[in-house]
Amino acid sequence: MIFLTKIRRTVSMAVRNLWLHKLRSFLSVLGIIIGTAAVISLMAFGEGSMQDALEDIKKQGLTNVIVTSVKPPEEATSQRRSFVANYGLTDDDHRRFVETLKNLVTATLPMRVFPAELRPVTDSRLYNGRVVGTTPRHAIVYKLEHMIAAGRFLTEQDEEPIPRNVCVIGSELAAELFPGEDPINKTIRISGKDRAFVVVGVLKDRMPNTSGAEIEKYNGDMYIPLKACRSLLGEISFIRATGARGAEKVQLSQVVLTVDDSGDTDTVRDRVRGVADIVRTQLSATHPKKDWDIRIPLDRLEEAERTRDRYRILLAFIAGISLLVGGIGIMNIMLATVTERTREIGIRRALGAKRSDITLQFLLEAVVQTTLGGVIGVLVGLSMVFLVPYVASQFNYRVPAAIHNWSIILAFSVAVAVGILFGWYPARRAACLDPIEALRHE
C-alpha cells in the first residue's frame, strides 16, 4: 500500500518533470520511438512476406508428393536418332504407384501438360497458354473449391463414358481471349488441332507457384479432361509455343500423390517421406534414365520456416541495436538530469529518503520515458504498417504485412526493459551521492 502510494507519487512527479522539459524529453525518447516503430513495422512486413511464401507452399498441399517428368540431359543435346524425344512418366508408372501405395495414398492425380497457342473459334485473338489434361480430382488436390469465379470445374461426367470436349480456364486466359464478355459456353481452339473446347468454368486469380524450377502461372491454364487430351494428342505432344518447336513423347507430365493425412503431424510427415522414398526406389528401378523428379512441398515448408526463423533472429538483432542506441540516449539524458538535480537529491536525502527511494525515483523517470516512447513507437509502427501497403497499392505494388500481437507486446516490453536497464546506472549514481555534498551543490 505504502509502496503503491510511493510509486504513484513518483510516477506523477516523473510525468511532471518530463512535461517541464517537453522538447528535451521528446528528443531523448526519440531513439526509443524509432526503435520500437522499426521493430513493429519490420516484423509486420517480414512476417507478411514470409506468410505469403508459406501460404504459397501450403497451396501445393503439404501432404502431396509431386512427381514430374523431366527431359534428361542427353535427350536434350543429342537428337540424332529421332526427332521425337521420348521420356518421362508413363501410365504404367502411375498404375504401379496406385498399386503399391494404396494404403498410404488417398488420391493420385495424373496430368499431362503442354504449352499451346490458344484462340477463340470466332476471333483471331491469340494467347500462349498451357493445356493441362487432368481429372476432376485436380480441384481437390489443388484446393480449387473456392477458386471458381464462374461455372464449374471438370466432373466425372466429362470423362465417362465418352470424354467431352470441355474446358475450365484461368482468369488471365479468360480476360485475354474474351475481353468484356462472359467466357462460359464460348469455344476455344488449340492451334494445330481441329477440335474445339467449350468453356464450362472460369477460375479466380491464383498466385503463381514459384517453388519449382520454372514459375507456374496458373492464370493462363486451360484444363481439359485427361482422356480428351489423350485422344486429341495421341502419345506425342507437339510443342508449338514461343521459342520452342519440336515433339515429345510424354505419357504423363506429372503425377500428384496425396498422402493419407490421418494421425498427428509427425506421423504424417514420416508417411510423406516414406511415400517419396518408395516412389524414388520404384522409378530408379524402372527408368534407366533420370527422366523424373520428385518435389515434396513439406520439405520446402520446413526450409521456408527455417528461413523465417533466421529472418526473425536477424530482426531481433537489428531491433536490439536500435533499442540499444535509444537506451544510450536515455542514459545520457538521465545522467545529465541527475547532475542537474543533485541539490534536489540532497534535500530528499536530508528529509529522510533512503537510497532505494532515490533509485526508485530516477528509475521510474527513465521507465516512464521509455514507456511513453514505447507507446508512441507502437502507434507510429502500426500506422506505418497500415500506411505503407496502402501507399504501395496506389502504385500497384503489393506489400504484404502481418501484425502479431506478440510483436507489439515484445517491442513494448523491450522499450520498458531498456528504461530499467539504462536508467539503473544513473539512478544508482543519484542514490549514492553524499547528501552533504549534494546539498552544497549549486
Binding site: 512527479m13 534536489e344 534535500i347 528529509l351 529522510g352 533512503k354 546539498l439
Partner: protein, 242 residues
Amino acid sequence: MRVIARVENLTKHYFLEGEVVKALRGVTLSFEEGDFVALMGPSGSGKSTLLNLLGCLDRPTSGRYFLGNQDVSTMTDDQLSEIRSRYIGFIFQSYNLIQQYTVVENIEVPMLYQGKVDASTRRRCIRLAEMVGLGERLNHRPTQLSGGQQQRVAIARALVNDPHVILADEPTGNLDSKTSDEIMELLCTLNEAGKTIIMVTHENDIAAWARRVVRMRDGKVESDVRTAPLTSPGSTLASVMP
C-alpha cells in the same frame, strides 16, 4: 529537563587531497528538551560538521551520538534515513525547497518518506502552512514566493514529522533584517511551544534569540553559555502539534 541529544567525545576526520583534516577533535555536549541553542564560531571551527552529524547526514570518525535514547553513531545508511525522516527537522540557509512541488507538497515530503501520505497528513500540512502564514498560497511554487515565505515553508516542513530536534543552518543568512526578525520570532514561538532547536549562526544578534550559546574553535567547544533559562513548554501551538 530531559536530555534529548547527547554527543560524547565526537571526532570527525576528512581526507582531502591526501591530507587528514580534523574537523572535530572531541566534542562532548548534551542538549535538553525545549532548549534553543546557537552554535557559533568562525568558518572552519567545525560547527557545520557538528550540525551535519547531529542531523544524521554523516557518521562520526569516533565518539558516540545518542538521539533520544538511541545510539545513532553506528547506524547504517538506511537506518539514518529513517531517523532523519522521523526525529529531525531541517531548516537551511537557502531554504532548499523542491522547485517542482507546491507549498503543501513541499511540506509533505518528510511524511512521504515515512510512508504516511493520506488525507489526514494533507490536512496537517495545510494547517502547518496556515500556521506559518501561508494559508493563502498553498498551491504556489517556490519561485512564486519571496525568500521569507520560502523559509516559512521550510519551517513548516521541519515541523511536519513532529521531530525531536529542529536543526537550523543559518536560517536567516539569505534574508534582510526585517524578514530575519520575523523568521526568528517564528522560531522563538516554536521553541516556547516546546520545540528543541539547534541553530548554526555567525551573527551575534541572531544568536541573541537563543537560550544557550555554544562557541566552537578548531573543532572543539570553546565556550558554552546559558543566556536564558529553560522554561516549561507553553501551549500556544498545541493545536497544530498533535
